[in-house]
Amino acid sequence: MKPIWTLARREMAATFDSPIAYIAATVFLVATGLLFFFGLGGGDDYFTAREATLRPLFDFAPWVLAVILPAVTMRLIAEEKKSGTLELLVTMPVTDLQIVLGKLLGGIGFLVVALALTLVFPALVLSIGQPDLGAIAGGYIGLFLVGTAFLSLGVMTSTWTHNQIVAFIVGLLLCVFFWTATDALLKTLFEQPPPALQLLNFQTQFSDFAKGVLDLRSVLYFVSVTAVAVVASTYSLQSRHWK
């Protein structure tokens, strides 16, 4: 376990040493703040809804996470590949799986900080009304799970290339694809998409959390996606042996 924590701590420090963490956190706060207060047009915004709820935040925060988290994960492995430090890292007495988990945990550290910064919104809602605390807790658990899944996809793309920009773009595309495009794709392919396939969509799985419903199947779904991405990342790191 120790190498995983050591690596996670170093990645957290490196992330917050670089401007990307601050840009990403600012983008996240400003974007979710704007969406929270003013909505996206169409629906009621915070000032007219007269409802003590965080639904607007939970509806839109995953979109922002899908953009900023690949920016945080893009350097995790790609930078080590480019600078050659990966050679020192993988020749230490640690396994490739420990390396991937350490890197992912470093990214999760950023996610937790970013989510903690948004606690100002529930505090605001609590000060003016009596929101459903269960829905707020469920929403944050959902954001954490979907964010972790995005991070694991980002780590995976970072193992594929030396180039951070490529890692970012492919990571972003994957996150957006899983968040929303699977749905559009299914609707294009099928007149009546099979329900089992509809469950592949992150948004479908996430929607219950924002309502305060903690469905174990959805939790398992996001944990499984993360696990598959971690295993794929580990294999990608190991591919140096047979290239």
């Binding site: 050591t6 600078s83 050659g84 430090t85 020192l88 020749t91 007495p93 140096r240």
Partner: protein, 337 residues
């Protein structure tokens, strides 16, 4: 994890392997990168406590051999045994015994030296106190105490190399693997790093790669010459020089007799008893019109050549024996025929 790593360090640093026994055995290593054959059946032993030099031209397979030893990449076929353990079966345990400095010294340039070495120590399973103690010892050994609070990216190449050595030494490894440890350094830094490696060789088994002959001659106890993915020589400098001691290379410069062609002279030289081969190496017009030939002979036949030149009417301008030092051996073994 922490305890076992420390215990491991203590057992490995108290070298249990008897001197002169092979601590590393490399057998028939083959490595294919796509269609390129980087190693083609490399075998050698590394004995406990020795400094072994892997010598060869660029692209010969030195770095690939080291990447396999450190299990950064796997061999296509062949076996490596370290301290009796198979590398294929115990890669993590073997990595714990190795200190590795890859070519070009990859480091985290945005980290402070102290933080970086603490990070390396913790990755190797040390607790904070042990890490600090080892860090102080290693910083003194490699001479980086003055720069311990500086950011790695701001250091000179020589200091970066020392930081690279420090991370390789931190866990007091039984074996040090150094890939081109002096490349890119200025002459003073090269001398310093060579002296440092010689010092380290007193307590560690060291494998270093180089394409610099004088370097391996100065530092190494034994040399393995690799060329085109194969071992072409293996022995001490004395042994390697002895191997070719019965070959004499002679350089003859001759102003040909009137009407004689260079080719006629060459054939005449080749016909002298004892000459194995005679090659026209170049034509020189200054200060005397003369051609230069390189001869390989079984004995030192300079008197015979002088007598032949006189009888044939050629003007002997120069006649000398080329010393068969390590450089000549290297050239001879790695000559692209």
């Amino acid at each position: 994890m922490r305890g076992s790593a420390l215990e491991y360090d203590m057992t490995t640093s108290a070298s249990a392997t008897p001197a002169s026994a092979a601590v590393i055995q490399v057998r028939d290593l083959v490595k294919k990168y796509d269609i390129k054959l980087a190693l083609n059946g490399v075998s050698f032993d590394v004995r406990a406590g020795e400094i072994l030099g892997l010598l060869g031209p660029n692209g010969a397979g030195k770095s690939t051999s080291m990447k396999i030893l450190t299990s950064y990449v796997s061999a296509t076929s062949g076996q490596v045994t370290v301290d009796g353990m198979s590398l294929a079966d115990h890669p993590v345990a073997i990595r714990a015994m190795l200190g590795y400095l890859p070519e070009s010294t990859p480091l985290y340039h945005d980290m402070v030296v102290y933080d970086y070495l603490m990070y390396v120590g913790e990755m190797r399973g040390f607790d904070g106190a042990t890490c600090k103690r080892r860090l102080a010892e290693v910083a003194a050994t490699v001479g980086i105490r003055d720069v311990i609070g500086m950011t790695i990216g701001t250091l000179s190449k020589g200091y970066k190399q020392r930081v690279g050595l420090a991370q390789a030494l931190l866990h007091n490894p039984k074996i040090l693997i150094l890939d081109e440890p002096t490349s890119g350094l200025d002459p003073n830094q090269i001398v310093e790093i060579r002296n440092l490696i010689r010092e380290l060789g007193k307590n560690h088994t060291v494998i270093l790669s180089s394409h610099n002959l004088s370097e391996v001659r100065q530092i190494c106890d034994r040399i393995v010459i690799i060329h085109r993915g194969a071992v072409v020589a293996d022995g001490t400098v004395d042994e390697l020089e002895g191997k070719v001691a019965n070959t004499h290379r002679l350089v003859v410069s001759m102003a040909p007799a009137a009407g004689a062609q260079a080719e006629q002279v060459r054939l005449g030289l080749a016909a002298i008893p004892g000459v194995r081969s005679a090659v026209l190496s170049h034509h020189s017009s200054l200060p005397v019109e003369a051609d230069t030939y390189e001869l390989e002979a079984t004995t030192d036949i300079r008197p015979e050549i002088a007598r032949w030149a006189q009888s044939a009417g050629h003007g002997l301008v120069e006649l000398r024996r080329k010393s068969m030092d390590l450089e000549s051996i290297f050239q001879q073994l790695t000559h692209d025929a």
